[in-house]
């Protein structure tokens, strides 16, 4: 099953490689990983999307917790949460396709953030499926380049992850 883990980790050199090293050494999957410092600059927050049986997820959580630099780990998918991912996608936009691209972008509540005579660069956020849907919805031949960040997640309501 797919799980989304939130990890608070000390903002120290090498901390990220400990996490990725752990996943590769123990044969766990990383579907995506995002990381950036939090409002407290000494700490980073990671969102790791992974999949595996319940036993494997339990081990992943325990192994992550065991890393000296990891402060806290929660499995967001255990309760209600919100996920967002950012995609930047550069598409060919010429002739009548130009109008069509603009329309699709509006439907998906994206924004065109860079324009040339022949291209649009579109910014789109949302759950991963929405980004997938956008890619499917437009003409695949028109896609020049896509960049996706992978999911960031946060618990719904009052639920917070802090030390």
């Amino acid at each position: 099953m797919r799980h989304i883990l939130s990890v608070l980790i000390e903002n120290e050199a090498g901390a990220l490689s400990r996490v990725t090293g752990l996943f590769s050494a123990r044969g766990y999957n990383i579907d995506s990983l995002t990381v950036q410092t939090t409002e407290d600059l000494t700490m980073s927050r990671m969102t790791i999307v992974t999949h595996g049986s319940d036993d494997v997820i339990e081990q992943i959580t325990k192994q992550l917790n065991k890393l000296v630099e990891v402060v806290k780990v929660i499995d967001l998918s255990e309760s209600e949460h919100i996920e967002r991912e950012l995609m930047l996608i550069k598409v060919r936009a010429i002739g009548k396709d130009r109008e069509e691209m603009k329309r699709m972008t509006d439907i998906f509540r994206g924004r065109i953030i860079d324009v040339t005579e022949k291209t649009y660069t579109i910014e789109l956020t949302g759950p991963g499926e929405k980004l997938d849907a956008f890619i499917k919805a437009i003409d695949s031949a028109a896609i020049l380049e896509t960049v996706r960040t992978g999911a960031s997640g946060i618990g719904r309501g009052e639920r917070i992850l802090k030390i």
């Binding site: 490689s17 090293g21 050494a25 036993d55 081990q59 000296v68």
Partner: protein, 587 residues
């Protein structure tokens, strides 16, 4: 006053009460060696290969309550140390390793003797640090000792670039340290302990299974008290040997791949298993499904949550330090009076005694040729079970585990998790330095001893009077055994031709060498080594029966009740594996 990074290192080590640093110099650590030269708080032990530095430091920890320290130069010095670091890691042994690194401006430029030590060691350390600023050095060393010794112990590497050893700063060593992201558990959850007591109160066939965590956690007294309080049978893993006296009637011997008949069957057929600081290793329970097919309830005490439910689901996990948890568990047992069902326990003991009776460690004595088991029995006798025994890896290691009756914890020093040949001799050196008055024996094989034989030179330099018991079978015996049993006697590359004359080799290094070829000479030779040559390093080259195999044996993929048994028990061989088999029918 400002002092250099190198001096900070030596001052920190002195503050930590370090007695010995095992190391080998080189360009990146010249400053540190100069600072060592100028101090007298600790001694440096110059090994002959960095692998030996990490093994000796590791065994220094294993055989004491102190922390072994190794010092390596950058590049090849550091990578040579990796095997020893991995060995300590697999057996959860505290150790601090300081490695030199090229200067910070040169990092990443493929500088001379540059290797990414933090990267290389990452998978085999509890934690590691690269210190880029001399002002962080003292606090990093404090953290390293703290992390190495608390929670589940393990090796910690500190990589120190050369300029950091030269740069100066004010020195102060913190008295204590708190790391917000690192808070290992100590006490177990009282609710879980109550549940465990309740379950114990319902047990009819209890077994106490104890591993290396109880040795590391210094819980020998508590384990023994629990065993006696419940009058339960007790078995140890290879790493747990000595936690309970090897001659105690409640002790069934080691369990696992080469465990005793009685211990393995008790493990298979118990109804309540109390696992203490043990990790259900594949060499212990073999295949989890076979092991669990016989229903049992499991209580698992471990300081590392990730050891729990890793290979086997358990009913009552108790996360905490073994000494704390057992103290509380025993208190509640006494308070409530909960004990295993008396009738059930009596029947269970009857069964266990029946399994014990055929004496699975019996072997055919010979008047002509030295049986390896015989040497170990005699060693145990001559040292009265009191020696600190280190070993290498192979058949000799298993026979030691089976035939030497260890009396106390930290007396048995071997590489279990990684199974590192070459561990024995440097380990003996580390153990002897930690225990200057103890008799120290290193059990080894003709293959293993040659993996770090250069350490005979270290033993000479520091007058280390270890006794090297070489069980010379002219084979890589453990591998040959597998080839005999599973590869149709095709002894591919396991016959060691061109063996040196080991006793002459020992003499060449300035030690005493002895060659023993006849069974009747075994005991006298051992006595001579431990009395006449008490203060010398002695290599006893025992020419043993090269065809001997280690039994019992649980083959890969088989259940614990499907052991291959020694010749005199072949009629009991291959108890078919069945679900819910009535334990009473065996034997």
């Amino acid at each position: 006053m400002e002092i250099s990074g190198a001096e900070i290192i030596t001052r920190c080590l002195a503050e930590e009460g370090v007695e010995f640093v095992f190391g080998y110099p080189g360009g990146a650590v010249l400053e540190i060696y100069d600072a060592i030269f100028k101090q007298d708080k600790f001694k440096h032990v110059l090994v002959r290969h960095e692998q030996a530095a990490t093994h000796a430091a590791d065994a220094y920890s294993r055989s004491s309550n102190k922390v072994g320290v190794a010092l390596l130069t950058s590049g090849p010095g550091a990578t040579n140390g990796i095997t020893g670091i991995a060995t300590a890691y697999m057996d959860s042994i505290p150790m601090v390793v300081i490695s030199g690194q090229v200067g910070t401006p040169a990092i990443g430029l493929d500088a001379f003797q540059e290797v990414d030590m933090v990267g290389c060691s990452r998978p085999v350390v509890k934690h590691n640090f690269l210190v880029k600023d001399v002002r962080d050095l003292a606090v990093t060393i404090k953290k390293a000792f703290h992390i190495a010794t608390t929670g589940r112990p393990g090796p910690v590497v500190i990589d120190v670039p050369k300029d950091v050893t030269i740069n100066k700063t004010e020195f102060s060593y913190p008295a204590s340290i708190a790391i917000r992201s690192y808070n290992p558990p100590t006490k177990g959850h009282p609710g879980q302990i109550k549940k465990a007591v309740h379950l114990i109160g319902e047990a009819k066939r209890p077994l106490i299974y104890v591993g290396g965590g109880a040795v590391q956690g210094n819980a020998s007294q508590e384990v023994t008290e629990l065993v006696k309080l419940l009058n339960a049978p007790c078995s140890n893993t290879l790493m747990g040997l000595g936690i309970i006296d090897g001659t105690d009637p409640n002790f069934l011997g080691m369990l696992g791949m080469h465990g005793t008949f009685e211990a393995n069957l008790a493990m298979q057929y118990c109804d309540v298993l109390i696992a203490i600081g043990a990790r259900f290793d594949d060499r212990v329970i073999s295949v989890p499904n076979h092991f669990l097919a016989q229903p049992k309830k499991i209580i698992h005490i471990d300081v590392d949550p990730s050891s729990i439910a890793k290979r086997v689901k358990v009913d009552i996990p108790i996360v905490g330090d073994v000494k704390h948890v057992l103290t509380d568990l025993i208190a509640v047992l006494k308070e409530t009076g909960a004990r295993p069902n008396a009738e059930g326990l009596a029947d269970w003991w009857k069964q266990v005694e029946a399994w014990r009776k055929p004496d699975c460690l019996h072997y055919e004595k010979s008047a002509e040729i030295i049986k390896p088991q015989f040497v170990l029995e005699k060693l145990c006798k001559v040292t009265q079970g009191n020696a600190i025994v280190t070993s290498d890896v192979g058949q000799h290691q298993m026979w030691t585990a089976q035939y030497y009756k260890f009396r106390r914890p930290k007396q048995w020093i071997n590489s279990g998790g990684l199974g590192t040949m070459g561990f024995g001799l440097p380990a003996a050196i580390g153990a002897q330095l930690a225990n200057p008055d103890a008799q120290v024996a290193c059990i080894t094989g003709d293959g293993s001893i040659q993996m770090n034989i250069q350490e005979l030179s270290t033993a000479k330099q520091y007058h280390i009077p270890v006794k090297i018991i070489l069980l010379n079978n002219r084979y890589l015996g453990m591998v040959r055994q597998w080839q005999e049993l599973f590869y149709g006697n095709r002894y591919s590359e396991t016959y060691l031709e061109a063996l040196p004359n080991f006793e002459k080799l020992a003499e060449a290094y300035g030690h005493v060498g002895m060659r023993i070829e006849r069974p009747e000479d075994v005991e006298p030779a051992l006595r001579e080594a431990f009395t006449t040559h008490k203060d010398r390093c002695v290599l006893l080259n025992f020419i043993t029966d090269g065809t001997e195999n280690v039994f019992p044996m649980v083959q890969n993929g088989k259940g614990l009740n499907q052991m291959d048994l020694p010749a005199h028990m072949r009629n009991l061989q291959q108890t078919p594996f069945e679900n819910n088999r009535d334990y009473g029918n065996l034997c």
